[in-house]
Symmetry: C2
Subunit: 211 residues, 2 copies
């Protein structure tokens, strides 16, 4: 099985690395990081670059596609090269997946029409404009489409897909190897749990990010 | 504040990216990825490279040091260039930290002598050989030394340090922005929770990895 993880300028690192570190441990799978051009691709902070080893054109038929999100997603919503690649890859993929605002790219490519999907909580409602049904869950699976909520949710999605594709025990082994026994020091990871003034703070900032 | 995140051949990606994505959101901080040489540094799977933007020599006095782990740690336990850099950086740092088997490198540099520290559960006992006191907790803070357990524990450590360095509310804001509301689909993230046969499976494999 070939797993293609997309990179683009100003993606969010953990969106890509969460699925890589879990789903990428699928036995016999080849994981390849792809982008429009090969070479280093900078994240949203500008302080980190991940290497794209192959161009989109070199990986036309991955079995599993992972599309991360991040501020750079906005600029790609009408990028014909990327959207055409997503459609072509999806035509033969076994799984088409996203983390965070990566689902907006899948939706813009027309791949989530009529499907339940999730996204970063700040972007969730935008899915409706592209024909998807916004679903406030951490990981949403509808047919062969798996979408994860914001950033860190890609870890949970990766383990869930490992269980379906390999086995429950293999997913548990990867969870144990990555010591994924989360103990966040705060309980503020969703808008329903965080203090209201912090939810409002991020909402006010997002008006500049998401539009 | 300057945050230096170390990269080395065959490190584990999430060990570095967890703290980057949380602690790196410290207001006013400059995060820089460092290695013995600049350029792409391959992870333990070989399928991903992160870019080191600066050499160790170019970043002699970071305020906060993050040392990730991974299979490549073993080869560095007597690497004079790295251990000298760790000692010199530690001499002026505000915080010296690690994720996973990165704590073995801190210990090999003599920085954890007599201190409580943690590591990946498979490596925890090795800390004692280097004079540290193995402590089976997800995040251990002893003075200015913060160590995290395996791989994903760096996310929890990053948030805990954000709270101490900035404020509880800033840490909560980053937790909300990264939607870190973990919902693992399995409960196998520690040797005390995972099925015994999977714990034994990883123990038998680790004899070849950790020695």
């Amino acid at each position: 099985m070939q797993i293609a993880i997309l990179l683009f300028d100003r993606f969010t690192a953990l969106d890509a690395v969460g699925p890589y570190e879990t789903l990428g441990r699928l036995p016999g799978a080849e994981t390849v990081f792809v982008a429009e051009r090969t070479g280093p691709v900078r994240t949203d902070t500008g302080n980190l670059a991940l290497t794209a080893d192959r161009t989109l054109a070199e990986v036309p038929h991955p079995d599993l596609v992972v599309v991360p999100g991040g501020p750079g997603q906005s600029a790609l919503m009408t990028d014909a090269t990327l959207l055409d690649w997503l459609r072509a890859a999806d035509a033969t993929s076994t799984w088409t997946t996203s983390v965070c605002t990566g689902s907006l790219l899948l939706a813009a490519a027309g791949l989530l029409t009529g499907r339940r999907a999730t996204s970063h909580w700040l972007a969730l409602d935008h899915l409706r404009s592209y024909g998807a049904e916004p679903t406030r869950e951490r990981v949403v699976v509808d047919g062969k489409y798996a979408t994860a909520a914001g950033v860190s949710a890609g870890i949970d999605m990766g383990l869930a897909l490992l269980g379906r594709i390999a086995s429950d025990d293999h997913a548990r082994t990867v969870q144990l190897a990555t010591e994924y026994d989360p103990q966040p020091p705060y309980d503020a990871g969703s808008p329903g749990k965080a203090p209201a003034h912090l939810v409002e703070l991020l909402r006010s900032r997002s008006r500049f990010i998401l539009t």
